[in-house]
Symmetry: none
Subunit: 186 residues, 4 copies
DNA sequence: CATGAATGAGCCTTCATTCAT
DNA sequence: AATGAATGAAGGCTCATTCAT
């Protein structure tokens, strides 16, 4: 195998391409980033990327799926020993860490924009904004679920998104999260 | 002047183009929407669009600037007789109305994504997220300004964004806004 | 009439356009120079240029015709009191003066290139290189005309062209002309 | 590889494209000749041309460089056994042969016109008109170099150019060259 | 005379994709 | 698994030209 540039996982070409593509997509946008640039950055040929992924769309989709915070949310929900506040802390801290670089934040935004283009993205977002949000609400505020409880979790998620997109210089992530949770939990 | 299709302001070609472009960009994305499609939808020639705007980029920029909620925020800030809660209600209700259609919401998202491409968009977002947010915080919570107050307004804005992107079926906009303001004002 | 910029003959729009066009064509080339640029430089509208000349091609032709040295040659030939050397001096000095600016020299080159595009240019060049050259040869070397005499005049003309295109820094035009005439007249 | 039409070097796509482009440029002019025409004439796709050359400008430049007579001059200067007259005969005969077709002559003219557009062309012309001309002058007339010697070589080159552009029907190239050299060497 | 609005043809270029090796 | 060669579709943009006023 050729030496691949700028890859952490240097021994798996496929993973390496995804890794490089993520970076390039973040910098240039899914549409604007040509396969040739990704190929160049990864030190492979365009053809190889297509050999692995079949089409640019598939690559975009693969990257996009990794970008969404579904893994974080499902991961924290899986920790059944977490209390109400613990769950929010778990999600919040991992969320803010994942999108702490402006590259990842930009990519998140772009991925959400893709929901009109890729059905799969829309379904994932549905799962996140409806299914998971309701599950979090249940875990945090207890049964029975009502509108206000759901709204609060949405506010929680929205505030995380908004901070990731434009971190407030004078307030670091953990302080912000602390204020946010206090507000939500009242 | 030719009969222009699908235009409210049928007697001003330039405005009509912006109007149609806004719709087309929302549906297909800034990048994916070709000028030819906008031209077709507006019933004019591609050349005419370029004659008015010089380049596709300029048209994108013009549309993008109209999409951001700066007009709303500055408009409400201008109403000096509004109290703390009144100000938030003003901004919130207009915001949720502006982006009540999924088209406008999608466009807002895409516009934010453009901040790495167009300096002017970045500056407007800076103005919104720094300047205006601080001014709102001052008006709502009074001097002296501190981090927590700013954070709360950011939470307010982020929650509006998040709801616009994915309205909660069971909760209508006004109820959501009410809950949100209660939370913020505590 | 609008104030026309950069025109010597400010009171004749048509002449002014030709004047400005000559300059713009010299700088950018006949093909590359758009009518809009000429219009801008002349301070008139594109439409007006077309109103006067009918088409860009006609304007190009009009400028091109003025650029060729036919006027010089026929002018000097018209001075019947000139001797052999006097005739060459007349032609040579006016020629080198006309194309002393690199703009005019560049334009001359481009005009010659046009002979495959515009029949009229080809005919003018034919007239210059065949008719006039033979007439000069007759006046300079006397009857009967032979190949060598014609060749010498062609050498004379070619040398003038070549110097105009790339003046020799260390040799000024009059010195060059002097050497040239000495060579030709033997 | 596809069968390439109208190519001498049929087994080298890149060379074939240059060859066809040279012909097409000569007929239509660098500007007027669209890539699509060259592609059609060469029996390849436009895209392939761009794949090889990157841009039309690069192709133009590549063709233009081959058109200038630098190869001839440097080739003859390299033959150190040539005497004064032999050197001029070498350059003159090759020169007149290279541009014996009106296509090549036209292309030469156009290439010179490009010196305002492409720096590289200007540099090559500088090398030809200054460096090489002085070297020829030294070889032909011996040290020390003076203005008159340089001027004579310039006259020599200019006369070659002028004859190439418009061969004299009644005088064939070798006769013309003979007269020219006699004149120069006096 | 003079202009702005509007158009259409054409061109360079980008880019995803295919194919042979 | 990997690549270079080759293609075609599509898009943005330039620019001469036309038309109504």
């Amino acid at each position: 195998m050729k030496t691949l540039r700028g890859c952490t996982s240097a021994n798996d070409t496929r993973k390496c391409i995804v890794e490089v593509a993520t970076r390039v997509f973040a910098l240039h946008g899914f549409q604007r980033a040509p396969l040739s640039l990704i190929a160049f950055e990864a030190g492979v040929s365009k053809s190889l990327i297509l050999w692995y992924f079949g089409s640019k769309d598939s690559l975009v989709l693969e990257v996009a799926k990794h970008v969404l915070p579904l893994d974080i949310v499902s991961g924290c929900l899986g920790q059944e020993d977490l209390g109400a506040q613990g769950l929010l802390e778990c999600i919040g801290s991992r969320y803010l860490r994942k999108y702490s670089s402006s590259l990842m934040a930009s990519l998140l935004l772009q991925t959400i924009s893709l929901e009109n283009t890729y059905t799969e993205i829309r379904m994932l977002l549905d799962k996140l904004c409806t299914g998971y949000v309701r599950e979090i609400a249940r875990r945090v505020f207890g049964e029975p679920l009502n509108k206000e409880k759901v709204a609060k979790i949405r506010i929680f998620m929205g505030s995380l998104l908004c901070y990731s997109l434009r971190p407030i210089e004078s307030i670091d992530a953990s302080k912000y999260l602390e204020s946010l949770i206090k507000l939500i939990m009242h």
